[in-house]
């Protein structure tokens, strides 16, 4: 599970994870797989500059198993962090290590399967040839590489369609091939940069199921995505990046609790909006009420649990007809919005 020592970050409860999938590094005995004492992926106060611009700023994060989502706005530093993990970049400060090895080293790259966001292949090869070439470049003999290629293609659902040239593939097919080449050498750590981008809904469902299976097998996945709804379906453990820093680590619910100082936005549709607004203003948890168009109210309230208790009591006592009750921001989008946009309670207009 991800861990970090930033102020807002929290340790999520460790998910059940065995030692399955931990790669054998030293032992020749096939069935004994010693537990790796070090985190599988460790960023220790990592900073990275692009000239005068800081891409990653003092990030400390460690992953051991399970699926961790990495979310953040464009330019937050997600791709930079993933490139540091896969040895494409070197930190200017701090260290990035994979199972105790410098992420820049060839030995560390053997433990990492990387699915990049960049959409550039050896276009003259077929999907099958490309994945097989990646397997051969990992040092497998030809026969072994063929077997692994077929297995990886089956896992991503491309076994029947991998003989066409890559230049003729759709975006979704290219994403699957990228994923296949990341899986072909059976690495314990998978770093996936926008793996669901361009994949159709059915394909996304299949890939999410695949990611879950891989995590159940003991692999550690670090998944970056802008598809926050899909990321929520994939995992509830996220690391939120804001302007190069890890702003929060943990479950969305836990992060939301930590942000309890930020009011929750609730939409209420009622036939008596003004009367309800007047009553709601009197509740201690309510920070502000905005009367929208028609019969809509937008309420901003702290301490959601207490607010809803007070609200239900108010509704019953005053006999309000509530047609709709919806929390607008208890999602990754909303959490990001708070973290990235920094809305203030006094921004709400109260009538």
């Amino acid at each position: 599970m991800p861990t970090s020592d930033r102020p807002l970050e929290t340790l999520a409860p460790p998910a059940a994870s065995g030692t399955n999938g931990v790669v054998v590094l030293q032992s020749r005995i096939e069935n004994r797989k010693p537990r790796i004492p070090e985190p599988l992926l460790l960023f220790d106060r990592v900073s990275k500059w692009y000239g005068p611009v800081i891409g990653v700023n003092q990030v400390t994060l460690e992953l051991r198993s399970g699926i961790t989502g990495l979310v953040g706005a464009n330019g937050a530093g997600k791709s930079t962090l993933l490139r540091l993990a896969t040895g494409q970049l070197r930190p200017d400060l701090g260290t990035a290590r994979v199972a105790g090895r410098d992420a820049w080293s060839a030995a560390a790259k053997r433990l990492v399967g990387y699915c990049p966001e960049v959409d550039s292949f050896y276009e003259d090869l077929s999907g099958r040839q490309f994945v097989r070439a990646m397997a051969r470049l990992c040092g497998y003999p030809a026969a072994e590489a063929r077997g692994r290629t077929e297995h990886a293609l089956e896992m991503v659902g491309m076994a029947e369609r991998a003989d066409r040239r890559l230049r003729g593939y759709s975006k979704g097919m290219r994403q699957r091939i990228k994923l296949a080449q990341a899986l072909v050498h059976d690495p314990p750590l998978l770093v996936l940069d926008e793996p669901l981008s361009g994949v159709d809904p059915l394909g996304r469902r299949d890939m999410v199921a695949l990611f879950r299976r891989l995590a159940e097998q003991g692999k550690c996945l670090l998944v970056s995505s802008h598809e926050l709804e899909e990321l929520e379906k994939l995992t509830d453990h996220v690391a939120v990046m804001v302007r190069g820093r890890i702003a929060a680590v943990g479950t969305l619910a836990r992060i939301r609790e930590l942000l309890d100082g930020q009011p929750l936005s609730i939409r209420i549709d009622t036939d008596q909006p003004r009367r309800l607004a007047g009553d709601l203003i009197g509740l201690a948890e309510v920070v502000g009420v905005e009367i929208g168009s028609g019969d809509r109210l937008l309420v901003r309230a702290r301490n959601p649990a207490q607010f809803f208790r007070s609200f239900m009591q108010l509704v019953l006592e005053e006999d309000f007809d509530i047609r709709r009750l919806e929390t607008l921001d208890d999602s990754a989008h909303a959490v990001l919005g708070y973290l990235l946009g920094g809305r203030r309670a006094d921004d709400t207009v109260t009538r």
């Binding site: 040895g87 494409q88 990049p116 003259d124 990646m134 470049l137 990992c138 003999p141 050498h185």
Partner: protein, 336 residues
């Protein structure tokens, strides 16, 4: 660097099933990289197409000159382009009735020891020009057109694309995320481009020489080692440029046309920074018996063939080492 020496037996054993241990091999991976890169270099790109086109033009022009017997001096005229041929001059010099005509051309001539109107040294010079070996004439064409122009251009056709093409296409990520040390990746791709670069240069050189007939065959036998080593040196240089800068083909062309051409013809020691200088020195050394030498050795200051060879070998090794170090530290990030 010996790739196999870096593989630690057992360190990378990966268990697929209780009964099928498989050992991955860094040596095997590196050899496959060389093979894969060799195959992928076969895709004809724009610079290679240009190089092949220039080769075809060079071969055709050489063949045309060969058919017209242009490698000897019989057709050369003095004054160039308008006067009689050298053969005609000699004929005139021997004919009494042509002396008055000659006097008009040469001005009033003093009596020569032989009593003829044309001084003997002049006649001797005309005879020496006519006796010039065809290898010498062909070599002068090779130096001016092939060494200065075609050789570097043919080298950069493949060399700049080996790594530069990968970077421009954004496919470098597939190499950089493989478990291969970066210096080995650099070395492997260089070895993969060499057959193509040497094939294009030596093959093109051979075609041009064979199209020249007898003098070309002699030139091919004499000069192919110089072409071989110059190809290695230029390939190492342009390969490094391809890994280090954007638009490597442009930078390499600028280097070839301006630095090699201008520096290579500078008086004094400045020309010694150009690879073409040492290539010519090797050629001068082996073809001295055919009268092939710099026009003004005191200005050109050539080095002997052995020194030139050592410099070319040293430059190749040094550029390769610099490239391996640079590549091992450089960060390549594709625009996402």
């Amino acid at each position: 660097m010996n790739p196999s020496a870096t593989a630690v037996p057992g360190e990378f054993s990966v268990t697929l099933s209780p009964c099928q241990p498989v050992t991955v091999s860094r040596t095997r991976a590196w050899c496959y990289l060389v093979w894969l890169s060799f195959r992928r270099q076969a895709r004809v790109r724009q610079m290679v197409a240009i190089a092949l086109g220039l080769m075809a033009i060079a071969v055709v022009l050489t063949a045309v000159n060969t058919a017209a017997g242009r490698w000897g001096m019989q057709h050369r005229r003095w004054p160039p382009g308008q006067g009689p041929t050298y053969e005609e001059w000699l004929t005139y010099a021997g004919r009494y009735e042509a002396r008055e005509e000659l006097a008009l051309v040469l001005g009033a001539g003093s009596a020569s020891p032989s009593g003829g109107l044309v001084p003997d040294p002049v006649v001797a010079a005309w005879r020496a020009v006519l006796a010039r070996p065809d290898v010498l004439v062909f070599s002068q064409v090779l130096f001016s057109i092939y060494v200065s122009f075609l050789l570097p251009l043919w080298c950069l056709s493949f060399a700049t694309e080996a790594l530069g093409g990968e970077r421009e296409a954004g496919s470098m990520v597939w190499l950089l995320t493989r478990p291969l040390p970066r210096p080995l990746i650099y070395l492997g791709k260089f070895l993969a481009l060499l057959p193509w670069s040497l094939g294009l240069n030596l093959g093109g050189f051979a075609l041009v020489c064979l199209a020249a007939g007898r003098p070309g065959v002699v030139a091919l036998r004499l000069y192919w080692p110089a072409v071989f080593w110059a190809t290695l040196a230029f390939s190492a240089l342009f390969y490094l440029i391809g890994s280090a800068v954007r638009w490597p083909a442009v930078v390499a062309v600028v280097y070839s046309f301006f630095l090699e051409t201008i520096l290579g013809n500078m008086p004094g020691y400045l020309k010694r920074v150009s690879i073409g200088f040492y290539t010519r020195c090797m050629m001068f050394d082996v073809a001295a018996g055919y009268g092939v030498r710099p026009e003004k050795p005191s200005v050109y200051l050539p080095v002997d063939g052995t020194t030139a060879l050592l410099v070319l070998v040293g430059v190749t090794v040094a550029l390769l080492a610099i490239g391996m170090i640079h590549f091992s530290r450089r960060e390549y990030v594709s625009a996402a």
